[in-house]
């Protein structure tokens, strides 16, 4: 109890401290006032931690958004972030098969949806990027000759008729550098918050589930049926942000988390993805092997293998524990996680 009180007090302290910060105006020394941006977090999602070295500003976000949609970032000016991360698919991609160069393991990975990124502390299927700022360079690079590409991108941005002024507005200097690009895009990405699905509105008492959706939610949490909550937590972010092996293969083609930790015990483990907007982010899994939610349900019900690192929650799950009706119900529940306001919010669309 004492501990709780202390925590509450401390939390209060932090909130006050943060409040103060939000009122501040960032002046990087160019005499130009940068307007602090205050994230609008829907009820049901926690406050988002913003790194002290990259405070959000209107100017930074606007710049990040422009860069996100601009093919200038790719070495050959053909592809923007938005080409693989499309808003109406929850910023995932439904088509691209993606191959890589020397700095990545062989094996295709499916583009991940982008929302609520500010809550994660590592990125990519294997958690390889440790902050949101850093993951930006991955896609910019041609994997083989990365430094040359980046240098070209920076040169192009510096020679561009509009960008130097936009960078000056955002960061106080019109000489574009790699860290500025990373920070701007990360600022925009942090604004991409999704928490206004039917599920959320039901939670807030503004809507109600159908009988099937309600059954689906109960089965989702039922330890003898779906048992999905262990990993895809109920509510909030719908993920525990852990790395787990879900038995997709008996011998994993993609070593997953082990690529980062080099531990045999991490082979075949991948980051638990959020299930928000799952209806629109097909294909599913790190390699996009499943095209429908029914295939996903079949995997969890009967299809999973028993590799050494299989997660304990699945190892103890009985195969065939769900009926077709159970699976239909869970799918109906999953569809209540689609946030149409997010998918169509003009603030995230091409500027």
């Amino acid at each position: 109890m004492r501990k709780l009180l202390l925590t509450a007090l401390l939390a209060g302290f932090v909130i006050i401290a943060c409040k103060k910060k939000e009122d501040d105006v960032i002046d990087p020394g160019d005499g130009h006032n940068h307007s602090h941006y205050i994230l609008d977090i829907p009820p049901g999602l926690p406050a988002m931690p913003i790194p002290a070295n990259n405070p959000m500003t209107e100017e930074g976000i606007a710049l990040g958004r422009k860069l996100f949609y601009d093919p200038i970032l790719s070495g050959d000016n053909t592809m923007a972030c938005a080409d693989c991360h499309k808003q109406h698919f929850g910023f995932s991609d439904s088509t691209i098969q993606f191959s890589i160069g020397i700095d990545r393991i062989p094996g295709d990975r499916n583009a991940m949806p982008l929302f609520n990124l500010g809550y994660a502390s590592n990125f990519f299927w294997d958690g390889g990027a440790a902050d949101l700022e850093s993951q930006v360079i991955g896609p910019i690079q041609n994997p083989v000759e990365m430094h040359e590409d980046l240098a070209n991108v920076i040169q192009e941005l510096n020679a561009h008729p509009e960008y130097p002024e936009l960078f000056r507005k955002a960061f106080g200097s019109s000489t574009v550098t790699t860290p500025m690009i990373m920070k701007a895009i990360a600022q925009f990405e942090r604004t991409m918050v999704s928490g206004d699905s039917k599920f959320d509105r039901v939670r807030r008492g503004l809507d109600s589930f159908t009988a099937q959706e309600q059954r689906g939610m109960d089965l989702y949490a039922d330890p003898f049926k779906g048992d999905c909550v262990h990993c895809h937590t109920m509510g909030s972010t719908f993920t525990d942000f852990e790395f787990r092996n879900t038995g997709l293969d008996s011998i994993a083609a993609d070593s997953g988390r082990a690529r980062i930790t080099l531990l045999a015990s991490d082979i075949g483990k991948f980051k638990t993805p959020s299930l928000r907007n799952i209806e629109v982010t097909a294909p599913y899994m790190h390699d996009g092997r499943f095209f429908t939610l029914q295939e996903v349900m079949d995997h969890y019900n009967t299809g999973f293998h028993y590799p050494q690192n299989l997660d304990a929650n699945l190892r103890t799950s009985v195969k065939g524990r769900m009926t077709q009706q159970d699976m239909d119900d869970i799918i109906a529940f999953l569809k209540t996680l689609t946030d149409y306001n997010f998918l169509t919010n003009p603030a995230f669309a091409k500027p």
Binding site: A130, S134, I137, G138, M146, T177, P179, A258, L262
Partner: protein, 289 residues
């Protein structure tokens, strides 16, 4: 002999991403990081902060804080060798302990957090993050512009980037991703990169690509450097780095079947461990003047 041209320093440049005040006082920032849990630490923070702001202010008013008569300058040169010879790029001139004939097309590595240790075991920290590119002489040196007077007999540094800086790419100076020393899909710097080729056991020429890194193999190197006396003067310290030692002392690194390593698979661990242990023996003190 390498020809030596002028170069740039970066003792504090890479710290820009921490708050403005800490930029000018990396020392204090570092020591603050280690206290953080208790109320006592809050107090310490408060005191440190006020000291920090105090010293910041002062610095702004007086941009030349160097106190003449108490310090000198030191340039540390890294000479890059293979079997004791200056590396010539693009020629298959070298033979490692395993008998593999190899060549070097690219050799780059990070030397960071250089510390000079005095005979009374007090230390002077450079707080540097330097990328040595063996092909570019001007990068093969590290500057200490204000080294306190005294006699130093050891040097210590990291071959690699410490965990504090290793997990974000949004940094400038030698840590800017533009140098190509960061993995594309894994936030982490490539501590050491040797790219080239070698003649395999069947006589055919195969690529050699070694990208070494990840936190557990951040190698700390410590070397005796004679008795380096800094006394209001300008000194030069020459260190050698030898690739044949890296591949042969004490673990023998065989290139056959082991020629592409990117620190990205469980299978890379033995290779990482060998290099990690060999790095200590790959640097040596040459001379100072």
């Amino acid at each position: 002999m390498i020809t030596l041209k002028s170069c740039f320093t970066l003792t504090t440049g890479n710290l820009r991403f921490f708050s403005y005040f800490s930029e000018s006082i990396p020392h204090i920032y570092e020591s603050m990081k280690s206290y953080s849990a208790s109320a006592v630490s809050l107090l310490i923070y408060a005191v440190l902060f006020s000291i920090a702001f105090g010293s910041c202010k002062k610095k702004n008013e007086d941009p030349v804080p160097v106190n003449p008569g108490t310090s000198g300058k030191l340039t540390i040169f890294f000479r890059n060798l293979a079997g004791g010879q200056e590396i010539q790029f693009g020629q298959r001139l070298y033979t490692n302990a395993a008998g593999n004939n190899y060549q070097v097309d690219m050799l780059k590595y990070y030397v960071t957090n250089v510390v000079l240790i005095k005979d009374d075991s007090s230390e002077f920290k450079f707080n540097n993050y330097d990328l040595i590119n063996a092909k570019v002489d001007s990068t093969c040196r590290i500057y200490g512009n204000v080294v306190p007077n005294g006699t130093y007999n050891r040097i210590r540094f990291y071959l690699g980037v410490d965990p504090v800086r290793n997990h974000t790419g949004a940094q400038d100076g030698d840590l800017d991703p533009v140098h190509g020393m960061i993995w594309t899909w894994n936030t982490g710097y490539i501590f050491f990169k040797h790219e080239g080729d070698f003649m395999d056991s069947t006589g055919s020429i195969e690529p050699l690509l070694y990208h070494y890194g990840t936190d557990p193999v951040l190698a700390q190197i410590e070397l005796p450097i004679g008795a380096l006396r800094i006394d209001n003067n300008e000194k030069k310290l020459y260190l050698n780095f030898d690739l044949n030692s890296l591949y042969g002392s004490t673990h023998t690194v065989e290139f056959n079947g082991n020629n592409i390593r990117q620190s990205s698979s469980v299978d890379d661990r033995d290779w990482l461990t060998s290099l990690f242990e060999n790095f200590q023996n790959s640097f040596s003190y040459d001379r100072s003047e």
